[in-house]
């Protein structure tokens, strides 16, 4: 496998009594897309926000390019970290300053990072970024509050791309967009990845899109990472009952199927014994006790209906 760009070990992020993230470990390889899916409130955004240093973590370790991100950084190191790692935030309303124009928001980092020599070059770059996310050049002069939800989200995406980072945490980057623009943005993300060897941590609820964009998928539930594996494996041969339940609830654009949809319900178990990661197939891990894994896993790949 390729080199690791990010290593997360036993990450814990607690808020008072709430264990938002409770001891999760995973690696992200250079050039791949790791999809992060799971229950609402399971700690996906918190994981992303911890990685990009928005929080002091409660426990564990996060390494980016081999360096512990929680270590004290010199201002030069910090600047480089802030350029290399970008986040597209889940909430396009809260994350854009309404008193700034779209152009100002997108070009905000150019100055700090000494990118592009003059105004004209910067304007040109902003125009290109706006077009890349399916907006018009003319939108540069409009204020954030004058845009619709989906348009704002695209400004957030353009801002994240503006500094040409190598690693992007995309927190629900497309859920506010209509499907044709989703397709456009996802194609753009894929194309950029190919050209520039970008790495993505892609947090989303739309499982058909996650499957399409991700090389591997990690499933979170109540602060734990319960299953991780290649997209193919997770979709076709899920082992953890929560993953099965999640996959059974994906709605299809097909009214007749929806009228007769049968979801697989999920009930939390209170297992006895120690929970740990079990490798069920190559590179496919499930968080369970020995007893649970004996029940859930037959040793054969069983296709989910």
């Amino acid at each position: 496998m390729a080199e690791k760009i990010l290593e997360v070990k036993d990450l814990k992020q607690h808020f008072g009594t709430i264990k938002a993230v409770d001891g999760i470990s995973f690696d992200v390889y250079k050039g791949e897309t790791l999809g992060l899916v799971g229950e609402s409130g399971s700690g996906k955004s918190t994981t992303g926000r911890s990685i990009i240093r928005l929080y002091d973590i409660t426990g564990g370790e996060i390494k980016f390019n081999g360096r512990n991100v929680q270590d004290k950084m010199s201002s030069k190191e910090l600047r480089s970290f802030n350029k290399e790692m970008q986040m597209i935030f889940q909430d396009p309303y809260a994350s854009l300053n309404p008193r700034m124009t779209a152009g100002e928001i997108i070009s905000e980092g150019f100055e700090i990072h000494g990118m592009y020599k003059n105004k004209k070059e910067r304007r040109e770059r902003v125009g290109m970024l706006l077009e890349a996310v399916g907006l018009n050049r003319e939108h540069a002069n409009r204020y954030a509050h004058e845009f619709s939800g989906g348009q704002r989200q695209r400004i957030g995406i353009a801002r994240a791309l503006s500094l040409e980072p190598s690693f992007i945490i995309a927190d629900e980057p497309i859920s506010a967009l209509d499907v044709s623009i989703q397709a456009q943005v996802v194609n753009l993300l894929k194309q950029l990845q190919k050209e520039r060897d970008l790495t993505y941590l892609f947090i989303a609820h739309d499982l058909s899109m996650v499957k399409y964009i991700s090389d591997r998928i990690a499933v979170m539930h109540r602060g734990k990472l319960v299953e991780i594996g290649t997209s193919e494996d997770i979709y076709n041969y899920p082992v953890h009952p929560y993953t099965k339940s999640l996959l059974s609830a994906i709605p299809l654009p097909d009214p007749l199927s929806e009228a007769t949809r049968k979801r697989i319900p999920y009930k939390d178990e209170e297992p006895e014994g120690e929970l740990s990661m079990h490798e069920v197939f190559e590179g496919h891990f499930v968080y369970a006790t020995d007893e649970q894994i004996g029940r859930w896993y037959t040793g054969k790949k069983v296709k989910l209906q």
């Binding site: 194309q191 654009p253 097909d254 009214p255």
Partner: protein, 359 residues
């Protein structure tokens, strides 16, 4: 046909901006039947939120201008209603779940208290104790674990999807006649989403609630909608029953939408289909069909004149010149047709005929 509870007629909304007058809603017509769900889908920026906020009279004037049209709720024109009348209607008769949950929540007030206030305001409980009990019940119904503890927390202590569920709980607390839900489940995982959709349907059955459901997720539309309106550039371009829109779409924009969704077995190496180009500038909307510039099937007339709504069936309408008797015959694009045929086959459905684009 059932009883109509809300009728929107030729609604036009403009925004005064520094750059010019934005024609956000350009003549929208639809009606909502009692106890039914109308889903509105469409391009981002096409006017879905403005239309629904306009019904609630929740767009600030200025910059917004109600340029034309009527919004008839139980026969009364809300465009002309006073603020005092609207205050009575909001929440009580018509409740709204906003696209942005934080606009609906007070960041400095505990979540439970906010729900209780709505319950007490709309007299759904007599005492504080009762209201508290009901609020906790509602949190539980929208799938929030440990509702008693969560009751005491502030909105920023909730995840994105949990905040959205609080907003849903508040809207449901009022037991409104009409519920307008703007992207209510977008922030939720699919299992909780399914749970919320079931809850909404259950409430609809028991209290005959009418729902306007705005979403980008065509799977969700297929799950909830009785009728579907497809919007583009401030107008409804196709309107029909869910079956008509999903199995017999007529408008090239609808084809584009249905074609852009990835299949669960989409090959990761091929790019997704998209609709080329970008939507028109609503300060200077095109004279002809607003979709023409992006429509691979556009005719000469599309650049010159707006198409009228052509009627396809008693319930199905589409605003495309392709439906004119003299238009050339344009079949549904291959990829969309295959997908639809796949669904019909899977469901053993033979009575629905996948129509052609321009009969």
């Amino acid at each position: 046909m059932g009883e109509t509870i809300l009728e929107v007629k030729n609604l036009k909304i403009n925004f005064k901006t520094y750059a010019g007058l934005v024609q956000a809603v350009r003549g929208v017509d639809f009606s909502l039947e009692k106890g039914k769900t109308l889903a509105i889908v469409g391009e981002s920026g096409s006017g879905k939120s403005v239309t629904s906020n306009a019904i609630m009279k929740l767009i600030p004037q200025p910059p917004a201008i109600y340029a034309e049209g009527e919004i008839l709720f139980e026969g009364k024109d809300l465009v002309k209603a006073t603020e005092k009348e609207m205050t009575k209607i909001r929440g009580n008769d018509i409740a709204m779940i906003f696209q942005d949950p934080m606009t609906a929540l007070n960041p400095t007030m505990r979540v439970g208290k906010q729900i209780m206030e709505v319950i007490l305001k709309h007299k759904k409980a007599a005492t504080k104790e009762e209201a508290k009990k009901r609020a906790i019940e509602l949190l539980d119904e929208v799938g929030i674990p440990f509702p008693e503890q969560r009751f005491k927390q502030y909105p920023h202590e909730f995840s994105g999807g949990m905040r959205q569920r609080v907003v849903i709980a508040i809207a449901l607390a009022a037991e409104p006649k009409i519920l307008i839900a703007d992207e209510p489940t977008t922030a939720l995982d699919v299992t909780i989403q399914a749970q919320i959709l079931e809850l909404m349907k259950q409430i609809q059955r028991t209290s005959d609630t009418s729902i306007i459901f705005i979403t980008h997720d065509l799977g969700v539309v297929a799950n909830v909608a009785d009728t579907v309106a497809v919007m583009y550039a401030g107008q409804i371009v196709e309107y029909g029953t869910a079956n008509e829109i999903f199995y017999n779409p007529k408008h090239p924009y609808t084809w584009g939408l249905l074609g852009s969704m990835p299949d669960l077995d989409n090959d990761a190496d091929e790019l997704l289909r998209t609709i080329p180009g970008s939507p028109p500038d609503l300060i200077h909307p095109p004279v002809g069909d607003a979709f023409a510039a992006r429509n691979e099937f556009a005719l000469q007339i599309d650049y010159e004149q707006q198409p009228p709504m052509f009627q396809v069936s008693e319930t199905h309408f589409a605003k495309t010149w392709l439906l004119h008797p003299d238009a050339p015959h344009v079949p549904v694009p291959e990829a969309v047709r295959k997908r639809i045929e796949g669904y019909l086959e899977k469901n053993d459905e033979t009575s629905i005929e996948l129509g052609k684009g321009g009969e």
